[in-house]
Point group: C2
Chain length 535, copies 2
């Protein structure tokens, strides 16, 4: 029996019908040549079901004591494991477009897992065109975080299209094989952290901690410079409302090279560019809805505290508050403000040990978690949104010969934070999954267009020709209309974009496509080694 | 705003992730000739979405006060109604047999409705063979009971295959049309009962009440004769265990005439015959699992307290405890014991006004409801199971020309009662829907065979030749093996059955079939008038 950490337990305590606390997403595959859909999917399911010893968390269920969720919680093996319950076949209604897939994922993501069983479900989804199929999975956040889910995926798939699995990808065998490939020793007992115990052990033993807490307190008082702290100056918008139990999910891919090039041109990281792309999209979204706040939006940006080689801990994630600078019109200025706030956030942790960083992050997050059960999350949101960047495999992967086309993450919305943007870097692309409260953000599918608009705006600003498109005049976009005082350059951009979008839409109508790929995509070096979460 | 009655509210208070309190089921249809599946289903959905004014409960959501579920609850119109959320398209994975349909219904029935919206969902399900499609619906039991759902269905469908709906079946227009057809005045305010108020008003005003309570108390003391009371002498079995949040659902049809003929031959009602058929099946089920208790099983049998013409009240259902006499081997003796207990249960109510009957039933049920939140439902089950018989339309019905082939109900399992058998009489058939806790009753699909076995046993006992089958020797069934001391006659029956079943199975393999129809089925007079729930 393994004890749950305080943070792992918190995801269970804070869960309600309105805010399920599971993460997951769907993976898109193409059937191997010559394989029939029904036979292949049933083969995958049968293979998964062959496992005797399941790698965690597939075979473990929750064990509570007399105090229920308030007492200590443990994972224990489920001795009456019912794999048919966890591994499910589903299908899309016709015409089986991504629209139907997103609707199904929205619904599946909006229902609670059963706590009497191991906290996961996998759905093999048929009914897509072009020999594609999808696999939607969900795991309780008490059992898994984004980086761990990537480790799990890599232990399930292979970089070799000819490889066929002779053991269940859920099995300990699959996990051991993956660990051997990484050449890492199992984590020591000492590495399995329990936050409650550490709170006692290390609270007064660290000078760095004290300094960080002092600096943090200074930021609250307005002396933090670019350092952003939760709850301070977080504006209200339709994103920060009460949420109900239904979800809207959309997904889309962008070339990794496009986003990386923007970051490079502005002397920032890939993650800075992702945040700037999202910030621009949020600005357009709120502007078009007539509710762009004068204060800039703040985003929670999870950072990995996972030690190299730790593929077992459920949650090893902390958080930085990033200033999204949505009140700055100029995209370059906005990028610089975002970058500065990320650097200030990361600097806080530079001198801390991983344990101290973990402890510190949990200390500063705890008050926010406590607001949720009080029903105050929507009145005092600590952040405007969450933008999470999870590194995935950087080469094409295969599952029994079926090519993995994309890894689209689906995460959590909570009381007061009705939008979550999570992305996975896979192969040469970046796969975005956007999860929203269905009622608060009915038009979230437009966010996909705004992300492209925002990326094009950044590319234009730094002089990268986007998509090599010509720039003839065309009718202006909604955005250009709503913002008549834009500078000439932005206007041209908007016009170009309108034309590009019209073309893209005409194309999309002919055959739905999830990927926005481009001709001029530079080759990115593939590496099988998983990287740390970008902070 | 309409206030919820105490019983309606109880279904909300007692609900948990493990015990969702919604009822529903799936209706099976055949597409009209020449209609394409995708276009027809999208047409039905589009037609449903046209409603402006929705008939209750489609447009109403819950309104709670400061006390939450403990205070008074109201239904109020949902001003941001999102019909796309409630009306959903789904599909079955290949090969689209009833097995896949049952799996989907089990899953959909095992997830909680969202209390921020009107408490219902409808799924248009494609992917069945033979031009069939299914419509699964679920409604919260706080908003609807079995008889009301039949009223709703009749207001949605038409007996005329040529009729096309020009207004949404969810609309007030559909309801008014149905009410006009019934020629009934709307219920007066007085008819909208509030149990809490009646408790105060009528508790000491009725002589009949006092007599009933006295007789009831006598039965508890062992002086009740055939009268069965909840909690008394209820044996324990795998049906009466803790339940988890997953379900197993199976469905099947039988000819109305076959069951009715058994009741007639033994001088009982159709409902007595249904109970005897279920009792026999339960006996086989428990016997085969080596856990037939020496005490007989007891069943809760809902009885309708709905007044003629009341098509609006949510819940107008009381309950009788029936002795299922599962400890009696002889089917005729068993039938007589069941019939006697039903007569004793009904006699209690004979002299009461409907209000008094309703009050009395609620009084005797209340202690049981209170056990559920205490987690004691499984330790002190008031009944062994629930067997509910809901009268449906007695002629073929159509939805925009699509023939309604069956109405398969899906009901509730609760803590301690892991099995629910509900049936609907439709046209010339009886449609059974059996809902079970997935973990407690993993082999519930066999119950369908046992119901047939039990009906054949009753038919044999009263000399009705079943299915006109020949009686050659064959290998014995599991039941015959497990019960070697059976009399010669029963043995022959078992052999015949094994042969008949083998034949039926071979046939079923070739093409899955939900209906056990027979050649020699006498014509039953069709009547459009809904009847009172059979008690």
């Amino acid at each position: 029996m393994k004890k749950l950490s305080l943070i792992d337990s918190a995801f269970l305590m804070l869960e309600s019908r309105e805010t399920p606390m599971h993460v997951g997403g769907f993976n898109l595959f193409t059937l191997p040549e010559g394989a029939g859909e029904q036979e292949f999917l049933h083969g995958l399911a049968a293979n998964m079901r062959t496992a005797d010893a399941l790698q965690p968390p597939f075979g473990d269920k929750l064990k509570m004591g007399r105090l229920g969720l308030l007492g200590p919680l443990y994972w224990e093996p489920d001795n009456s494991l019912d794999l048919d319950y966890h591994i499910r076949h589903s299908a899309l209604p016709k015409p089986g477009r991504f629209r139907e897939l997103f609707a199904l994922v929205s619904r599946l993501h909006g229902t609670l897992l059963d706590r009497n069983r191991p906290l996961w479900e996998t759905h093999l989804i048929e009914g897509l065109p072009d020999r594609q199929f999808a696999v939607y999975s969900k795991f309780h956040h008490a059992a898994i975080d984004g980086v761990r889910s990537m480790h799990l995926q890599q232990s399930m798939y292979s970089a070799d299209p000819r490889e066929r699995m002779h053991y269940s990808p859920l099995s300990m065998a699959a996990r051991d094989r993956y660990r051997d490939a990484l050449q890492i020793a199992p984590p020591s007992d000492e590495a399995i952290r329990n936050v409650a115990e550490k709170l006692k052990a290390s609270f007064d033993s660290s000078g760095h901690m004290l300094g960080a807490v002092r600096q943090y307190a200074g930021a609250w008082m307005g002396r933090g410079g670019p350092l952003v702290v939760p709850w301070k100056d977080v504006p209200k918008s339709s994103i920060n409302t009460r949420v109900d139990g239904a979800r809207r999910f959309v997904a889309q891919s962008w070339p990794y090279a496009r986003i990386r090039a923007v970051g490079k041109a502005l002397d920032g990281t890939f993650n800075d560019a992702v945040l700037a792309m999202c910030a621009g999209a949020l600005r357009i979204f709120l502007h078009n809805h007539g509710e762009l706040p004068s204060q800039s939006l703040k985003s929670m940006v999870p950072v990995s505290l996972r030690r190299a080689g730790d593929i077992d801990s459920s949650n090893a994630v902390g958080a930085i508050s990033a200033d999204l600078a949505t009140n700055i019109k100029d995209p370059v200025q906005r990028f610089r403000a975002i970058k500065a706030s990320m650097e200030a956030g990361k600097a806080l942790f530079e001198d801390m040990s991983p344990d101290e960083a973990s402890l510190f992050l949990q200390l500063i997050q705890l008050p926010g978690l406590l607001l949720i059960p009080l029903g105050l999350g929507s009145r005092f949101p600590p952040y405007s949104t969450v933008i999470s960047n999870v590194p995935g495999p950087r080469q094409p992967m295969y599952w029994n010969g079926a090519r993995l086309e994309g890894i689209y993450p689906a995460s959590i919305v909570t009381e007061g934070i009705a939008l979550n943007i999570t992305l996975v870097t896979y192969d040469e692309q970046v796969d975005f999954g956007i999860m929203a409260c269905r009622r608060s953000l009915p038009q979230v599918q437009r966010f996909i267009d705004y992300l492209e608009d925002s990326l094009v705006e950044l590319e234009d600003a730094v002089g990268i020709s986007s998509a090599g498109a010509a720039k003839p005049a065309s009718k202006a976009t909604v955005k250009a209309k709503a913002e008549p005082k834009t500078k000439a350059k932005t206007k041209t951009r908007a016009k170009t974009k309108a034309k590009t979008k019209a073309k893209a839409k005409a194309k999309a109508k002919a055959r739905p496509k999830l990927k926005v790929r481009q001709k001029v995509m530079p080759k990115v070096k593939a590496g099988s080694k998983p990287r740390a979460q970008r902070g």
